[in-house]
Assembly symmetry: C2
Homo-oligomer: 204 residues x 2
Amino acid sequence: MTLKERIVRRAGTLFYQYGIKNVSMDDLASSLGISKRTLYENFRDKEEVLLTYLAGKRDERNNKIVEVINRSENMIEVFLYLIEYHKNKDLPSIKFYEDIYKYYPRIYKLIQQDVENNKIHIKTYLQQGIDQGYIRGNLNVDVAAFLVEESTYTYIRAAYLEKPPFSFQQLFFTMMVNFIRGISTYKGIQIIDDYLTNKTNENN
Amino acid sequence: MTLKERIVRRAGTLFYQYGIKNVSMDDLASSLGISKRTLYENFRDKEEVLLTYLAGKRDERNNKIVEVINRSENMIEVFLYLIEYHKNKDLPSIKFYEDIYKYYPRIYKLIQQDVENNKIHIKTYLQQGIDQGYIRGNLNVDVAAFLVEESTYTYIRAAYLEKPPFSFQQLFFTMMVNFIRGISTYKGIQIIDDYLTNKTNENN
């Protein structure tokens, strides 16, 4: 791992946990045991660190999707792989999202553009699933693609609950499985229900 | 209809369309062709009008649910009736929600309490659906109840889209049908898919 990569990875961990405003370039340097000077030789400012981190996350996610599509038999398998892949990932604190919204409007705009691009991809995948006979043909794919991207905001709202009666992992899993099951034909639902049955057995 | 009812109904229409801040007690009185004095004889202030309006809406909704439950054979039918009932209802403008959030914190709190109460009811209905064999037993009902109530916020977020590629009716319908289909057993899905097939035929 290069120093640049080490910096970005550590920054990501700290931002996720404490938000962005609360983590100074000083904090970041000392957390890595490097001088502030070395840090600034690699990145102009905190915004550049954040931008590099987010771009890396986006590429990682997109590469994962391409990899999963290449080894899957159908779109339902793709979605289930992605659920498995994401379900135990750490999710950022609310402060992370709030800080981007409040203090980094340029980055917030970039994220919104990403969301719009994602919707285009999701629509293509949904259409492939329909053509394969795994997703129902009467689905409004524009609404469905919107709902997939909205799940992030549902997560954010859940973080504001005073006493959530579920974990974020449970929320993510139920929300995603339920969504895919809702859009699937019988052929697709069979795959999902087999997956759920195996899960239940695993946990016993 | 009593004068009080007429006032509340007109206020609701105006609030839904223009938000609450933009509609003065003067506007309301003149829109009804009554004097401001008469208006104030019936309601102390705008907040009281708004509160009465929202309480009426809540009672109407709850009565509808009880009525639908009494004449339905199972919980899937209940949900489908409620989708039919709501799908062509006017939805308030974003300003309506924003104004409550910004200017009526007391009412905002009451709405949040309503949401919490709704979740308890929804959980009961979901459990009944599970007992009847129409809703899958491996569903996390806490998450599911949360997701039903979240749909309002998804609608609010959709209203901020610059160029939504769907109508609000399409959003509501797809979101709700997909949710119910996701939580249903095969027995339940059959009812939903018959309903969707009939819909498609109606529209041709």
